[in-house]
């Protein structure tokens, strides 16, 4: 570890003394522009941002997550070997380990609704120690996963990623194909209605389309999602007592798949099957909030398309 002590002065010097050739700048969703004297190489990423960047060939040196990385849905299936995990608790980051990684930049996602970056105020806020060490930037959470991925593409390209390598182009093509097929399947069933839910033991939570970026994408691509009548004050969910589980009658139900437990919970409820779609098994996964790259998006769209093709659009007419 002694070498860290020797290198550390260089790290701090590099932020101030510009000797490099190429300047780098990025303007984020909060309107802040980060300017660096050279293209940042050593990046610390939030789990979400890492899931966006790794498939594009940008490997961060460190990742911080909201929970144990093994449970992180966006990072599933990605190769994390050699990447330091510097946080696995919400609001907690090992700032000394972060410093030891000699980062040039932190990439996180900006949440306009809360005015916060991934990890929250304590980790990435203006007064956080991390900010004293290194600038924070990244794309903004909006109403489309697709445009979020495109933001990551742009960001990765600026960081020197070669987006024309076959693996990346293949993933993008696979996504485009999956999307066309999805749109065709949806167009073929104009009367199909779909409900996105989260199932708890105490109640059924019906999702509002505009509260989830991928639902907004699906809706834009023609899917007829049922919007709850009385979503709560922030406009995300309507809470239905299990006694009222049959309030909406969709032809197909999507169940939040961030945790496998949700589907098990739903299936165990006696009134789950008061929805005709649940009774006939027209139930599929909803990749809720976690998609960050083409490969995962393609996979989930294909999965959803199969369910749409199998669904009966006149089930609840």
């Amino acid at each position: 570890m002694t070498k860290l002590i020797l290198i550390a002065p260089l790290l701090f010097a590099s932020l101030h003394v510009g000797v490099a050739a190429e300047e780098w700048r990025y303007t984020d969703g909060s309107g802040q522009t980060v300017e660096l004297d050279e293209v940042p190489k050593r990046i610390i990423a939030s789990a979400d941002a890492a899931a966006g960047l790794i498939p594009l060939g940008i490997r961060p040196v460190g990742i911080y997550a909201d929970s144990v990385v093994a449970q992180s849905k966006p990072l599933q299936g990605l190769d994390l070997s050699g990447i330091e995990i510097i946080g696995s608790v919400w609001g907690q980051i090992d700032i000394e380990k972060a410093a030891a990684l000699q980062p040039d930049l932190v990439i996180a996602e900006y949440w306009p609704m809360d005015g916060n970056w991934s990890g929250g105020e304590v980790v990435t806020g203006p007064e956080s120690p991390l900010r004293q060490l290194v600038p924070v930037t990244g794309p903004t959470q909006g109403d489309s996963i697709l445009s979020l991925i495109e933001d990551y593409e742009q960001l990765a390209a600026s960081l020197g990623a070669d987006l024309t390598v076959p693996a990346i182009e293949d993933a993008k093509r696979a996504f485009q194909a999956a999307r066309s097929e999805f749109e065709e399947a949806v167009a073929a069933k104009p009367d199909l209605t779909v409900l996105a839910v989260w199932a708890g033991e105490d109640a059924l939570y019906v999702a509002a389309t505009e509260g989830a970026a991928e639902l907004s994408d699906f809706s834009r691509w023609g899917l007829n999602l049922i919007d709850p009548e009385n979503a709560d004050d922030r406009g995300y969910w309507e809470t239905l007592s299990w006694e009222n589980a049959d309030k909406y009658q969709p032809d197909l139900i999507m169940v939040d798949d961030r945790s496998e437990q949700t589907m098990a919970t739903a299936l165990a409820q006696p009134t789950w099957t008061t929805m005709r779609a649940a009774e006939t098994g027209a139930v599929t996964d909803w990749p809720a909030f976690w998609l960050r790259n083409y490969a995962a998006y393609a996979r989930e769209l294909e999965h959803l398309t199969v369910a749409i093709k199998a669904a009966d659009q006149h089930l609840t007419d």
């Binding site: 449970q71 105490d202 809470t239 299990w242 437990q261 919970t265």
Partner: protein, 343 residues
């Protein structure tokens, strides 16, 4: 003994018996209301048809049998258990603040449930039952053992301190898991409110033997509580073995509160408030406090649950929240009104 000596006592006893009968009737009424009223409005005739001629095709009938009846039974069972457990604990520990949550029972249950979700991926309340029960029992046993060390055994102060300390230690473990696991946090936030929703009949049948056993044990030791409540020296003077009495009381409380927590999650306020309410009605004798607590608690719990079902349609408010919202003001009024209840 002359007629004049005994008459007021007998009148008082009669009045208490009348009170008990009235409360039994009220409980039956509330139970019926609990079957009839819910987040979904079902006409009384339909409720009646559902009860006498069940039609599996009817959603309304399904809701009556699969949701409301188990929920009502669990509400009654849990209420009885919480009321009795609170009364027994307050008497045995001579502490008006004694409550299952303060003696570590809820924290013990929570730890094992959280670990069950985190490590074994458990998902449903019926899977939590045994974990919650085991955790509650182990925590209470531990609190009791720690407090019993030393010459004079488990005194009220040591029990209270050991209980609070154990709770804090266990809740630390809970927090550590919840902070690292989003999925567990997402599941547990609905369990830890304390609710009667989402429980099926299997939970009731699993828990009910314990509730019966605990109730019988609580009544069996009811008389020794009066002695304990007067102080260890008095109890000894009455010929009681203080350690054994207190141990049995602890056992009854664990079985009852453990069973209740296993079935409904940690409902904090009922066990604390109800014995105080009972004491306000009956006076200090546990011969009366126990049966009154046993009836007031399910009334409060079931009544609160019904209220919770109808205040936020089409959703519900969990019973643990309603009991706190209703119980706390009542408790405060009680504390303010009375020349403070001495135990």
């Amino acid at each position: 003994m002359t007629w004049a000596d005994t008459a007021p006592v007998r009148v008082l006893a009669d009045r208490r018996i009348v009170g008990l009968v009235a409360m039994v009737l009220a409980l039956i009424g509330t139970a019926l209301a609990s079957i009839g009223i819910g987040a979904r409005s079902i006409a009384p005739e339909t409720v009646w048809t559902a009860l006498v001629a069940f039609d599996p095709q009817s959603t309304d009938h399904q809701i009556i049998w699969a949701l409301r009846i188990p929920r009502t039974l669990i509400g009654i069972g849990v209420g009885i258990a919480l009321g009795m457990a609170g009364a027994v604990l307050q008497g045995a520990t001579r502490n008006p603040l004694a409550d299952p949550s303060i003696l570590g029972i809820h924290a013990g249950a929570a730890v094992l449930v959280v670990i069950g979700i985190f490590i074994f991926g458990l998902t449903s309340f019926s899977q939590y039952v045994w974990l919650a029960f085991a955790g509650a029992g182990a925590a209470m046993l531990f609190v009791y053992s720690v407090a019993s060390l030393g010459r004079e055994g488990a005194t009220p102060v040591k029990l209270a301190l050991a209980g609070a300390a154990t709770t804090a230690a266990l809740m630390s473990v809970v927090s550590a898991v919840l902070l690292t696991s989003l999925n567990t946090l997402d599941e547990i936030r609905f369990w830890q409110v304390g609710s009667l929703a989402g429980r099926d009949m299997s939970i009731f049948t699993q828990v009910v033997p314990f509730l019966l056993l605990g109730t019988v044990l609580a009544f069996a030791i009811g008389r020794t509580l009066d002695g304990l409540a007067m102080g260890d020296d008095v109890a000894r003077g009455l010929g009681q073995n203080v350690a054994v009495s207190r141990g049995l009381a602890g056992l009854a409380a664990v079985i009852l509160a453990g069973g209740a927590t296993a079935a409904a999650g940690p409902i904090a306020f009922v066990g604390l408030t109800v014995p105080h309410l009972a004491r306000a009605i009956t006076g200090p004798s546990y011969r009366w406090i126990l049966p009154y607590s046993m009836l007031i608690a399910p009334l409060l719990l079931l009544g609160s649950d019904i209220l919770g079902r109808i205040v936020a349609p089409p959703g519900e408010v969990q019973v643990g929240i309603v009991t706190a919202a209703l119980g706390a003001p009542v408790f405060i009024a009680l504390v303010r009104r009375r020349k403070l209840a001495e135990l």
